[in-house]
Symmetry: C2
Subunit: 350 residues, 2 copies
Amino acid sequence: MTTMSDRYQPPLSPARPTMRHVAALAGVGIKTVSRVINDEAGVSEATRQKVLDAIGQLNYHLDVTAGSLRRAGRRTLSVGLLLPSVSNPFSGEIHRAMEDALGARGIAVFAASLDDDPQREKAIIAAFLGRRVDGLVLTPIAKNQAYMIPEHSRNLPMVFIDREPVGVEADAVVTDNSVGAAKAAAHLLANGHTKLAYLGDRTDIQTARERRRGFLEEIGKAGIPTSTLPVIENLHDEDSARRAALELLSSEDPPTAIFSSQNLVTFGTMRALKELGVHKRVALVGFDDFTLADMMEPGVTVIAQHPERIGVLSAERILARIDGDDQAPRTYVVPSELIPRGSGEIRPPA
Amino acid sequence: MTTMSDRYQPPLSPARPTMRHVAALAGVGIKTVSRVINDEAGVSEATRQKVLDAIGQLNYHLDVTAGSLRRAGRRTLSVGLLLPSVSNPFSGEIHRAMEDALGARGIAVFAASLDDDPQREKAIIAAFLGRRVDGLVLTPIAKNQAYMIPEHSRNLPMVFIDREPVGVEADAVVTDNSVGAAKAAAHLLANGHTKLAYLGDRTDIQTARERRRGFLEEIGKAGIPTSTLPVIENLHDEDSARRAALELLSSEDPPTAIFSSQNLVTFGTMRALKELGVHKRVALVGFDDFTLADMMEPGVTVIAQHPERIGVLSAERILARIDGDDQAPRTYVVPSELIPRGSGEIRPPA
DNA sequence: CATGGCCTCGACAACGATGTCATAACGAGG
DNA sequence: CCTCGTTATGACATCGTTGTCGAGGCCATG
């Protein structure tokens, strides 16, 4: 005789209950069940209890998607969120703020990563449209969002993050990229630097161009010629930034201060500075804050964006649009903030 | 006369097209449209083209949710993912790996943050069930998952991450927490330490308990009494960890090596070490890798988990279950890895 | 030319829910 | 006792899609 008690029991698989089952068990019509679940008026307390009991007994969960098919306004109670990558902390913060604001309204969030790939942007949007999301919040990559015109004219609520849309009119929530970069420039100038350099991200990314513009314009205003200032771009990962910085710093007349336009570029630059042993002599200001920046040697001065703030604002806007707000689209600017931590306050050699 | 060209034009809002519209425009029946879209056989090439043209012209997108209502197996092509917080990098990595694997199959991911709140866990699961997700991947917080028994017996695919479920049998993908912690202990012992300390997370978190166990057992094996070894727990954020470490290090007979059981605890400890100026004299090994750990002074030795690996494996398992795999549930262990970077190789004072 | 088989294709019901509307029950007012 | 308004309730159509099934057209075979 073998004992079977420790064998895996494939579970029974009773059909998932529907309103009909609940109605039958409670001895009422399905419409009454619907009324109870949706808290509609016109159900006696006794009936309500019977229905609730049946729901509990069957462990019934309303099928939101089936409901949305018929429901007025056809709300699916879901929105699509397109981010650079869900694994990057900046995106994560935005995602989190969005989740909290929308979750409170019973709206679920589909999140997806774009990886700077315009094709992917379109494919994901198509997938989300197929799910009939109530709204779209996205950090656009494609040069142009004209392909969204059909949806736009169907009044699909959309909010653009990080960059204003091209080809459709819609709300946008952005960081003051050029202003932030100008602050970085002003800060380095104020600390006495005249030999500056710019290390930047891919030039097809609008925010990268804005940052470059802000940085260079501010320097120009100070009367320092920008035509000879080293501007190294299209650095999209840590290692290419590191190598660019190494080369730059090993050149004949190296800069005494560097502005890096993005997180990974900042990391690469930090590595280069450290490898050459000049991390305490060459000034650095990076765009984007990061964890432990204050624990580095020296602490890294940054232009911090406020992703939670961006997320909260975007959530507000998409909710307002979903609720029918039809004001003219606006762009909301979230100010960046210079956080001095040491690396940006290094003064040029005398 | 005022010009209106720059005024906002609220867009027209033609109804979203359905298969019926496509069918009418193409001059075919709706079933034929369905066949074309789903690549079913039995449609002549000519008809196919007509339908595809109509789809393009109307900018039609199949309504996946409506389809899932009728489709065999009722797949909604969505899964729910419950993470500690979408804003934490560890969760982000898992999310990303999941998104990639499931996205390739046309499955969308609902992600939500638990914040270590058992109530939230239940609420979010209820919300996901209401959306009829095809599967659930979760990092459980609640002591017990017995409340999921009804779903489990309805064969809802589930995969648990980070911790084996209690109360239901299901696949789990976990890090070898106790083994990893033991490695940390062994590493510190091998470097000559005998005065060690443990700084840990909340004791109601299973992984935290595992790590403590692994750490203390390994030390016990080496013949060092663990009863007097400082074990400070329930440190759940950076600042409480910092304060605990400060106190510990200022005590009469401070440890020469510290093991911190989690990211935030590690950060707090690093701060304390630095504040006291002993970061180059007291050894530290932290559980969980983090960005720029190698750039700290000294580099921080960690027991790294592999969240991408965990994500990939979880995605594989949930897909297999969705595809009908009905083997007995298993627990998959993803090995952690000790990465020496300096802080863990500091030797005790002679 | 009749027959049968294959290929295309569409009518129809159904999925699980909700909006509409009709009806039953009941007490109030005449 | 009839009428009326109010409240509680359910029958039914419907949302957009897919599964089932049968109809019709065409071609090859005998």
